[in-house]
Every structure is written in structure tokens, then in C-alpha cells.
């Protein structure tokens, strides 16, 4: 999917930068997005994702670089002439218009469209987002989740080539958010419109997207499918931004194909990790392991990597528990264990102050250079 999308570049962003005075919000971003993709721009506040989105919508002009949509250079095209519609973070529902008038607003500009066609299209959109019974309501008479769907229907009504979603779920509460995620995906699948989603929520990006661009300080740090950016982050930043991760300073001491042997002072032992072509023996690197890749046991495990430690702290979340272990080498790791069995306290793998072992496969140990 990822490769196929990149070849058929429906949206092409070429070396785009944007500065406001001396502040550089977006630095030399190049991306391609395929037709019908859900593509997320993920990053913390101030990473430039919203500015990039506003450049796609036409509210800001790039200071440098170009944007092509379906082969057309978008430079100088004002927002009202772009086949790009946006779902605003605040939803920006017109408070003085009914739900129906809001959804039909953009259609008023299609001079060729008959009144009946327009009404049909509005009805169809209301049907799509299940708001038909609310057509005559004013925005203040509907709930937050319904407003979100009005905004979506309004943006989709004119059949945009590109739909921009600015933090589409941020204003909803947790339960509604999960349900809406799947609704968004099914609506996207039915309409086939290309979605660009801006979000700071990595879980949202992971569930929704075909591909994710992780942004930081105006730059794109990594582009890839959710699995790629999670399992194979290309930098400490991406590894830490998406999910939680244990990181340790390490030095490469030998290449033992297909593994690398690392010396990790904080762990008090040598560790085998996945080979990475870009490193050389003797290089200082970072070893990164996700908490759920660590297995806790009472006895020393058979795994290639095994560390001894004591349970310092544990937090019970219901479906799983988080352990913090003090290691023999002086370091500390976090490990997730699924609570597969229901039971009393005794069912736990380990308790406070227990001496335990953690084991992990070389394949799940990442070596990061930057």
C-alpha cells in the first residue's frame, strides 16, 4: 500500500518551507500522497503540521517550494478556488445557519447545479453522517459529536479532491473518539476522498492512517505506515514520540550477522540487537526496546538477551500491568505484561521487591544512530 501510494502521487509537496518573520514554521518538507489514502501529519504543538495543512487549504502561501494537486500547481490559487476542503478543529459551524444550510453552503457556489440536485446532495450527505433527523436544528441545539459530523458532511458535500482534517477528534470525549475513528474510516472508504489528518495523538494517527509523517520543529522526521514508524523508528525522536520506549547508551562491539553485539553499561551486560547497515563497530549508538517486547519471568529465560533485576514499582491497568525494574547494571527499564489470567494477587508475574529476569529477542532490540 505504502509503495503503491507513493508512485501514484496525487498530492505532491516539493521542498515547501514557511516562515513567519524570523520564525521558520515549516522547513523544506517534501511528501507525496496517493489518491484515496488517509495520510496523517503527526507531531506536538508547534511542529508545523497545522501550518502545512493551512498551506494545502490555501490560507497560507509557502515561502519556498511548490504544491501540486492532481498535477496542478496550487501556487497563487486562493482557498475558494481550491478543490480542497477542510474540517476545522473547532468545526467552524456557522452559528446562524441550520444544519442543512451549513452542509449545503459550499454547493451554493456551483452555478451549474440545480436546486433539486443541491437538495438531493445535502440529503445524501446528511444520510452519510446520520444527521437526517437534525437537518433543521441550529448548531447550538446539537451535541459535540453531531457538530463534528456536520463539519465533515459540509466539507465532503462538494466532493473535494482532498479533505483536510485538523485534529478531527480532539474535541470529543474518549468513548466517542473511538467510535468516531471507525466512522471516519468507513466514510473515507465509501467516498474514496483523500484524507490529510493533522493530529498530535499518536494512537489516533495509528488507527486512522494508511501512512504517517512524523513532524518535529517544522521538519518531517519519518514517513511510513503505522507499523513502520512504530516498529522501525529511524530516530530516537520518532521512537520516543510514538509509544513509550526504553533507551540506553550503547557501543557496538561486534557484528555477528544477522545481529550486532552491543555493550550497554546501564544494563550491566552485553546485548544482541538487530543489525543495522549504517553502523560501524566501535560506534556509539542508542539501544531502544519497547516495554511490551520485554518478558518478565521468575527464572532466567532461554532468550538471547536476559537481564536480572528487582521490581521497584508496578501499576495495574486492568488489561495489563506496567513494571519498573531496577537492573543489576544500575539502569532501569519499563516492561508491560498482559494480565491474561483473571485471578487474585497471586496471579501476578511478580510483586514489589521480587527478584526477576527480563528477556527479549534481538529482533525487538532497535539500534538508533540519531
Amino acid at each position: 500500500m505504502a509503495e503503491g501510494a507513493a508512485q501514484d502521487a496525487f498530492l505532491r509537496i516539493e521542498g515547501v518551507s514557511k516562515s513567519f518573520g524570523s520564525f521558520q514554521a515549516v522547513r523544506d518538507v517534501s511528501l507525496t500522497v496517493g489518491k484515496g489514502e488517509i495520510f496523517s501529519l503527526l507531531g506536538g504543538s508547534g511542529c508545523g503540521k497545522t501550518t502545512l495543512l493551512r498551506m494545502l487549504a490555501g490560507f497560507e502561501e509557502p515561502s519556498a517550494g511548490r504544491i501540486f494537486l492532481d498535477g496542478r500547481d496550487m501556487a497563487g490559487v486562493p482557498p475558494w478556488e481550491r478543490p480542497v476542503h477542510m474540517m476545522f478543529q473547532s468545526y467552524a459551524i456557522f452559528p446562524h445557519m441550520t444544519v442543512e444550510e451549513n452542509v449545503g453552503y459550499g454547493l451554493k457556489h456551483d452555478k451549474g447545479m440545480s436546486k433539486a440536485d443541491r437538495a438531493n446532495r445535502v440529503a445524501e450527505m446528511l444520510e452519510l453522517v446520520q444527521l437526517t433527523p437534525f437537518a433543521q436544528r441550529k448548531p447550538h441545539q446539537i451535541s459535540g459529536g453531531q457538530r463534528q459530523r456536520v463539519a465533515l458532511a459540509r466539507a465532503l458535500a462538494r466532493q473535494p479532491k482532498l479533505l483536510l482534517l485538523d485534529e478531527p477528534l480532539a474535541a470529543l470525549d474518549k468513548k466517542l473518539r473511538e467510535q468516531t475513528q471507525f466512522e471516519l474510516m468507513s466514510i473515507q472508504a465509501r467516498t474514496g476522498v483523500t484524507f490529510i489528518v493533522v493530529t498530535h495523538d499518536q494512537e489516533e494517527a495509528m488507527t486512522l492512517s494508511d501512512r504517517i509523517a512524523v513532524m518535529d520543529k517544522g521538519e518531517v522526521r519519518q514517513v511510513g505506515s503505522p507499523t513502520e514508524v512504530y516498529e522501525f523508528p529511524n530516530s530516537r525522536f520518532v521512537a520516543g514520540f510514538i509509544g513509550s520506549i526504553n533507551t540506553f547508551e550503547a557501543t557496538v562491539i561486534a557484528r555477528e550477522s544477522p545481529h550486532l553485539r552491543l555493550s550497554v553499561p546501564a544494563l550491566g551486560t552485553e546485548v544482541l540487537a538487530r543489525d543495522v547497515a549504517a553502523v560501524a563497530v566501535g560506534q556509539a549508538v542508542t539501544l531502544a526496546i519497547r516495554p511490551e517486547k520485554l518478558r518478565i519471568s521468575r527464572e532466567r529465560p532461554e532468550a538471547a538477551n536476559a537481564l536480572a533485576g528487582t521490581v521497584r514499582d508496578l501499576a495495574y491497568f486492568g488489561k495489563d500491568s506496567l513494571y519498573r525494574l531496577d537492573l543489576a547494571g544500575g539502569g532501569m527499564v519499563q516492561a508491560h505484561a498482559v494480565n491474561a489470567r483473571r485471578g487474585d494477587e497471586g496471579a501476578r508475574v511478580a510483586d514489589w521487591d521480587d527478584a526477576v529476569f527480563v528477556g527479549f529477542d534481538p529482533a525487538s532490540a532497535l539500534v538508533l544512530v540519531t
Partner: protein
């Protein structure tokens, strides 16, 4: 009564009673009572005694003569009409100038906005009388402003229409011009307040859905600013209709406005009941606009 119960009474009843009672009493004595006196006065009969009115005795307790005269005498009806028309025109021009200025204020950068807002408010703090006076200086026949306008007029029109000066003073034109000038801040400030509260992303949403800026204004900005327009309009219209100073200084004595008529009936004709009746009639006319104003002011200040 023990100290404790006295203390409790003070906390529970005494303190609120004091807070409410003192301003209440003041307003009843110095506002409501005088106003009721005026209402009663309007049905009294004019006499040559001092004070020049009478209720009862050889006169009827309630005489509706004054109101009958207001409805039949052309002078009074004309004065009411002049006042309402002048006030309406002034309100219209205040809106015409005030709206773009208020809208412009919301579009300039923050530092400029504070400076310009201060410039809008500044004349409001300077003497009202002197602002009227400033225009008297400009409109006079020999002033540079009149000379400039006269030259422009004579340059533009055929020689037969040439004038020596433009007769601006002592006309309804002068009254309206000065009213627009003095009341403009009352229009700009509520308009600015209601425009500034509008969410700029709504404009962007309309643009994003295909509207050009002019269309965005008509579809999004204007409908949402209607409460502000009405609040500002009433804030100009109501005092303008009862204005006394401006028509006295720059108005046409031949077609007086209501405020001037009330004052003249009272001080010159010494007809207190008549003055009172005109005042009551003016207030009755203002009840409608006032109610509209208070409804929309609440709307303009509250959320949407």
C-alpha cells in the same frame, strides 16, 4: 435582643437591606419621583400663578388638552417628525461609516488596534459641547472648510450655479452632520465588540467552501453582526431623537426638534404642562426602540 441575634440579623437582613435600600431610595427620590411629577404635570392646566400650573380647584383634575394639542397642532407633529427623521438619517450614516471602521479595527494588527481604539474613544472623553462647537467653526461661511467646499462646488458646476458660500449652519444638514460626528463612537464601539467576538475560522471555513471575500462578508460576517448593528443603531437613535444641544447650536430655528421644543415650552412659553406632555409623548415613542435595544444588547453581549 441579644448581641448574637442582632449580629445575625445584620448579616442576614441588615446588610443586604442597606446595600439594596440606599441606591434604591436615592433613585426613587431623585429619578422616579421627579419623573412621576412630570407625568402628573402633563395633565395639569397652565396658569399665570407661580408655579405656573394648577390641578383641581376651578380647573379639572385631569386635563388632556396638552395631548390633544400635540396630536392636532402641526408644529408639534412636525417637530416629532423632524426629530425622528434626523435621528434615523444620522443613525444610517453612523452605520455607513462606523461599520467599515469597526470591521477594519478587527483586521489590523494588535498594536495598531489598541492605538486606533484609543483614537475612537478619545473624542468621547473630550467635551461633547466642544465637539459640536468644533463643527460650528468649520461650517461658518468664512471658515477654510466652507471656502474649500465652495471653491470645489464653483469649479464643478456651471457658472450660473456658483455660490459665495455654502449655507451649512442652521439647517437639518448641520444637525445630522454634527450628530453623526458626536455619536459615531457609540456606533463603532458596540459594532467592534460584536465583530471582534466572531470566530475568524468561520471566515476561513466559508472561503474554504468556495466563497470569495465579499461573499464571506455577506454570508458569514454580516448576519452574525446584526445584534451589534441594532445595539449600536439604538444607542445612536435614542439620544439623537431627544437631542437638545445640537439643534440649538447648529439647527434651523424654523423647524425645531423635540428636545428644543420641550425646552422652549418650558423656559420661554412657561407652559409646564405642555413641556411635560411632549416629554411624555417622546418617552412613549422611545419605548419601542429601547426594548429592541435591550433585547439585542443582551444578545450582542452574550454568546450567540
Amino acid at each position: 435582643m441579644t448581641r448574637a441575634t442582632l449580629q445575625r440579623w445584620l448579616d442576614d437582613k441588615g446588610w443586604p437591606a442597606f446595600l439594596i435600600g440606599l441606591p434604591y431610595l436615592w433613585l426613587v427620590v431623585f429619578f422616579l419621583l421627579p419623573f412621576l411629577v412630570v407625568v402628573v404635570m402633563s395633565v395639569a392646566t397652565k396658569t399665570t400663578t407661580a408655579p405656573p400650573f394648577s390641578l383641581g380647584g376651578e380647573h379639572p383634575w385631569i386635563s388632556l388638552d396638552t395631548y390633544a394639542r400635540i396630536l392636532t397642532d402641526g408644529l408639534y407633529l412636525r417637530a416629532f417628525l423632524t426629530s425622528l427623521v434626523n435621528a434615523a438619517i444620522a443613525t444610517f450614516f453612523c452605520l455607513l461609516i462606523g461599520y467599515p471602521v469597526a470591521l477594519g479595527l478587527t483586521r489590523v494588527s494588535h498594536s495598531w488596534r489598541n492605538i486606533l481604539l484609543m483614537l475612537v474613544i478619545l473624542p468621547f472623553w473630550t467635551s461633547f459641547l466642544l465637539r459640536v462647537y468644533a463643527w460650528m467653526g468649520l461650517m461658518g461661511k468664512t471658515s477654510w472648510f466652507n471656502v474649500m467646499l465652495t471653491d470645489a462646488w464653483n469649479f464643478l458646476v456651471p457658472i450660473d450655479w456658483a455660490v459665495r458660500s455654502i449655507p451649512m449652519m442652521h439647517s437639518n444638514f448641520a444637525v445630522i452632520l454634527v450628530m453623526v460626528y458626536t455619536y459615531l463612537p457609540f456606533m463603532i464601539l458596540p459594532l467592534y465588540a460584536s465583530l471582534e467576538r466572531l470566530d475568524p475560522t468561520l471566515d476561513e471555513a466559508a472561503m474554504d467552501l468556495g466563497s470569495r471575500p465579499a461573499r464571506v462578508f455577506l454570508d458569514v460576517t454580516l448576519p452574525q453582526s446584526i445584534p451589534g448593528i441594532i445595539a449600536g443603531g439604538m444607542l445612536v437613535f435614542i439620544p439623537a431623537a431627544g437631542e437638545l444641544v445640537i439643534p440649538t447650536l447648529v439647527g434651523d430655528a424654523g423647524s425645531p426638534m423635540i428636545g428644543r421644543l420641550i425646552s422652549d415650552e418650558f423656559s420661554q412659553a412657561k407652559d409646564w404642562p405642555m413641556a411635560a406632555a411632549i416629554a411624555v409623548a417622546l418617552l412613549v415613542l422611545m419605548v419601542g426602540p429601547t426594548m429592541i435595544y435591550s433585547r439585542y444588547q443582551a444578545k450582542a453581549e452574550g454568546s450567540t
